[in-house]
């Protein structure tokens, strides 16, 4: 499943969507991040500003009340009790004010210590204190002196108001001036309002940004009024060992803040995770620097939460999509998986394998339907093929049988080698298809050797049938001893009759007179034979007639050629000279004649086979286009000349004796081995005894003995006019052995004849018996 479509789809689609989603989310994040950061920055600044404004409002309220009181005192005179009452009312009704005093200029008071009633909230209870005591000596206090020296309202540096508010505080002091009757301006009093540092700190504590953020408040001179660490309170900032910010930076920022310039710095703070931000501002009313220190990391926490949320959503989306892709592809590919199994089964020949059921008309469904159609077609096709194969093999079997029958029509069944004392003959036919239309045949009748080589038009079964008809007709005509010219004319008429298909035969028909070596032949449109004589090959000139079977009543010219001993004659069909090679070149008569001449030294059989090989070599891979037939006829060489003689013996008592007497005389002239002579005489005696005893020879008839002796053979041919009798077949051949004495006379002779000669043949011809025996001579001893 590693390479399945589902796996690849999931991988590819997930990757693509992860990429797209990732890029989208990243862009969104980048944009949102800026926005969020901006918002967070604004928020923090807003928080600071709001806290500062709160504080300003509070301090403004304090200032306002104090300035109002000072205004009143500028213009109106009050008794001491009245001043006290007014002061008490103000402090009691103004929660923002911790404590307040009206410190009259001691110069204008009756008492030497001056007059300075002080009301303040101690633990929620309005408490009174007299600042005009000797211990306190308000006219020497910083708040009094600062205001007097400034001549205008001031915020006094923080201090511990011992003997007064008894707490760390800062004071808003307003000097009140009056104009005397003389028009002189003089200090009448200093009115104050106290603000405890605790309360300031409470305000600042509300100013928290994040867990580790804190605010700090300093006086104009750098005294720390509020800080995270209570130990630093009321100490100069340079004394406070700051673990967050180094001194120069601190001083730098403070100076900027004191100059009324809000500054923001981002620094590395050791006790704060990540970068810390310090924002330094000043309170408008007091001019005190307010510092905000907070962690950017904490401030941007919402951003990180947003990041995590986005990532989680992206991941979940991706997983859901992968799941969806998996489900969809699984649904799509399940039929494919089943189809794969089904096709394996079908390949194994199980054509009835069930295919997956599909709904709809999508591509998968179409595929399954096509597959099903293919399966059905395949089934039909295979069944058709089986039928076709069966009928084809039946046809092939019939053709093979037909071939055997056809070949059996030819002497030797398609290839023959005939070694005769007067000639040697070799022939071979090779059809282009199982059966063919080529034919050859030969027949010897006495000294006459008939030869026929023919080629029926076309090839295959029609040609074979026509060839069979032609062959049997030819064999009949040859047996009748017709001359070639007459035979061709008769054959033509016989073949023409009812030949509606216009099949035709080209035919060479010749007869060799073995006695005088004269070849008489007629050709029905057949390729002229080639003659090999003295190592030179020539084509026999011929007058040929038309092919056989096309028109009735044709005549064919007679050709006569005188052959000589040692001649070799080749008669062939056009399958040889018209054999094509891959380049569409014909083998041609020239090539044939050259090959024929080259094989002159070879025995006949090998020479013929070599010519077949030459044709095959020429054709190469080109299939044989036509039937091929070659017949070679060889006459013995001059030195092998025969001696022939004929004895004529009248029928009657003592025939065998007369035959033997003549034969012995005839044999004496030959230089034969003594045992050959004796055996020849014995055979002749047995044959002539048989003829004499059983031939029932007509009175006055004669028995002929043709004796023919060559270097290699000795032949005797007995002709008689007795009753037709083939001793080779019909002779009552006696059982040999113990009961031999009871054998019929002549029955033993046949044994001797067959044992002492190499060839025996019998034919009934012209109303007489012809028995021919041949004895091969041992050429070495001859």
């Amino acid at each position: 499943m590693k390479n399945s479509i589902a796996t690849r789809l999931i991988a590819v689609l997930s990757l693509c969507s992860a990429l797209i989603l990732g890029v989208g989310m990243w862009l969104d994040y980048r944009l949102s991040r800026e926005e969020i950061l901006e918002r967070l920055k604004n928020e923090s600044q807003e928080t600071i500003r709001a806290a500062i404004i709160d504080m300003e409002n509070w301090l403004d309220g304090v200032e306002g009340s104090t300035l109002f009181l000072a205004r009143i005192l500028e213009q109106r005179d009050y008794t001491h009790a009245g001043l006290e009452q007014m002061l008490k009312d103000i402090v009691e009704n103004n929660a923002d004010i911790y404590g307040s005093t009206i410190a009259l200029n001691p110069v204008i008071t009756d008492s030497p210590g001056g007059f300075a009633p002080y009301y303040f909230h101690r633990d929620g209870i309005l408490t009174y204190a007299d600042l005009a005591s000797e211990e306190y000596a308000y006219q020497e206090q910083a708040w009094y002196l600062d205001a007097v020296n400034a001549g205008k309202p001031v915020w006094v540096e923080p201090y511990f108001d011992r003997g007064g508010g008894e707490t760390l505080m800062t004071t808003f002091a307003v000097p009140v001036f009056r104009v005397s009757a003389q028009g002189e301006r003089f200090l009448y009093a200093v009115v104050t309002a106290d603000v405890p540092l605790d309360e300031l700190r409470a305000y600042l504590r509300r100013l928290r940004l994040g867990d580790s953020g804190f605010a700090t408040l300093l006086s104009r001179t750098g005294i720390i009024l509020s800080s995270r660490n209570p130990d630093y309170i009321m100490r100069h900032y340079s004394d406070a060992r700051s673990d967050t910010v180094d001194l120069p930076t601190w001083r730098d920022m403070l100076q900027s803040a004191l100059a009324g310039q809000a500054v923001t710095r981002q620094l590395e703070c050791p006790d704060i995770i990540g970068r810390c931000v310090i924002r330094m501002d000043t309170l408008q009313s007091t001019g005190w620097p307010v510092g905000m220190i907070y962690s950017e990391h904490e401030i941007t926490a919402p951003l990180r939460r947003y990041q995590i949320r986005t990532a989680v959503i992206g991941l979940v989306t991706l997983l859901l999509m992968a799941l969806a892709v998996y489900l969809v592809t699984r649904r799509l590919t399940r039929p494919l998986t089943v189809l794969v199994g089904a096709s394996d089964n079908i390949a194994r020949g199980k054509l009835d394998t069930a295919l997956p059921t599909v709904r709809g008309e999508d591509e998968i469904a179409q595929l399954v339907m096509s597959f099903d159609a293919m399966r059905r077609d395949l089934k039909t096709y295979i069944s058709d093929l089986e039928t076709a194969t069966a009928s084809r093999s039946r046809l092939e079997g019939e053709l093979a049988a037909a071939r055997e029958i056809q070949m059996s029509l030819l002497p030797g069944g398609g290839e023959v080698l005939e070694q005769h004392e007067g000639y040697s003959l070799w022939a071979r036919v090779r059809p282009a298809k199982s059966v063919g239309g080529d034919l050859y045949t030969y027949q010897q009748s006495g000294e006459r050797l008939f030869i026929a080589v023919g080629d029926v038009s076309d090839k295959g079964v029609p040609a074979a049938l026509f060839m069979a008809k032609a062959t049997s007709l030819i064999q009949q005509l040859l047996a009748a001893g017709e001359s070639p010219v007459t035979a061709l004319a008769k054959l033509n008429n016989a073949l023409e009759a009812g030949n509606d298909n216009c099949m035709f035969v080209t035919l060479f028909l010749g007869v060799v007179d073995l006695a005088n070596l004269e070849l008489e032949f007629a050709s029905a449109g057949h390729t002229p034979p080639s003659l090999l004589r003295d190592a030179r090959v020539g084509v026999l000139p011929q007058d040929d007639g038309p092919a056989l079977g096309l028109a009735p009543g044709l005549e064919f010219p007679r050709n006569k050629v005188q052959l000589a001993f040692g001649d070799r004659l080749a008669i062939y069909t056009d399958g040889i000279d018209e054999a094509f090679n891959e380049a569409a070149q014909m083998f041609g008569p020239e090539r044939f004649n050259r090959g024929f001449g080259d094989g002159a030294a070879l025995p006949l059989e090998q020479a013929g086979a070599a010519l077949f090989d030459a044709v095959d070599e020429h054709a190469g891979d080109t299939p044989q286009s036509d039937d091929i037939t070659l017949l070679l006829l060889e006459l013995p060489v001059q030195g092998d000349s025969r001696s022939t003689s004929r004895g004529v013996f009248p029928a009657g008592e003592g025939l065998a004796g007369r035959v033997i007497t003549w034969l012995q005389t005839a044999l004496e002239e030959q230089a034969l081995a003594p045992d050959v002579s004796v055996e020849t005489v014995l055979v002749a005696e047995e044959i002539s005894t048989n003829i004499e005893k059983y031939g029932e020879l007509p009175a006055g008839s004669e028995v002929l003995l043709d004796l023919s002796i060559s270097a290699s053979t000795l032949a005797m041919e007995f002709s008689d006019r007795g009753v037709a009798f083939d001793p080779l077949r019909d002779g009552k051949r006696s059982e040999l052995g113990a009961d031999i004495e009871s054998a019929e006379i002549g029955g033993l002779g046949v044994h001797l004849i067959t044992q002492l000669t190499d060839e025996q043949s019998y034919r009934h011809e012209g109303g007489g018996n012809i028995l021919r025996v041949v004895k091969l001579l041992d050429t070495d001893s001859a």
Binding site: A656, I660, V678, T689, L748, G749, H751, L752
Partner: protein
């Protein structure tokens, strides 16, 4: 060709010796048959055909010999052939005509055979 036969009879040993010279063929066979019949009818124990000078034999001649062999066997006597020439031998061979005949390649074998016959008679 002619056939000359010389018949020598040894009554003591009960042996007839028939020497053939020339050709035993179709023509000469009937005459030889009569001559051989005469010898056989004498009822001697052994008739020896001496073929030392026989040049030729045909199936007709062989029939005569076979007939004689069968007759002597029926009478409890023997017919033997001696001194056959190779081509005569070949004819016998072809026709497988040897089972019931003693065959001697030369005179020595024949003499040895006769000797043993004598001893056998004496032993009886």
């Amino acid at each position: 060709m002619e056939l000359n036969t010389t018949v020598t009879i040894d009554e003591d040993k009960s042996i007839a010796r028939v020497a053939l010279a020339g050709a035993l063929n179709t023509d000469t066979a009937p005459g030889f048959d009569q001559e051989l019949q005469r010898v056989i009818t004498r009822g001697l124990n052994l008739t020896v055909l001496d073929m030392k000078d026989l040049d030729y034999i045909s199936s007709a001649g062989l029939r005569v010999i076979f007939k004689a062999a069968k007759q002597t066997k029926a009478a409890g006597h023997r017919l033997a052939a001696a001194n056959r020439k190779p081509h005569i031998d070949k004819v016998f061979e072809i026709l497988k005509a040897l089972p019931d005949m003693a065959v001697f390649a030369n005179d020595q074998e024949l003499d040895d055979y006769l000797e043993s016959m004598q001893n056998k008679v004496r032993g009886d």
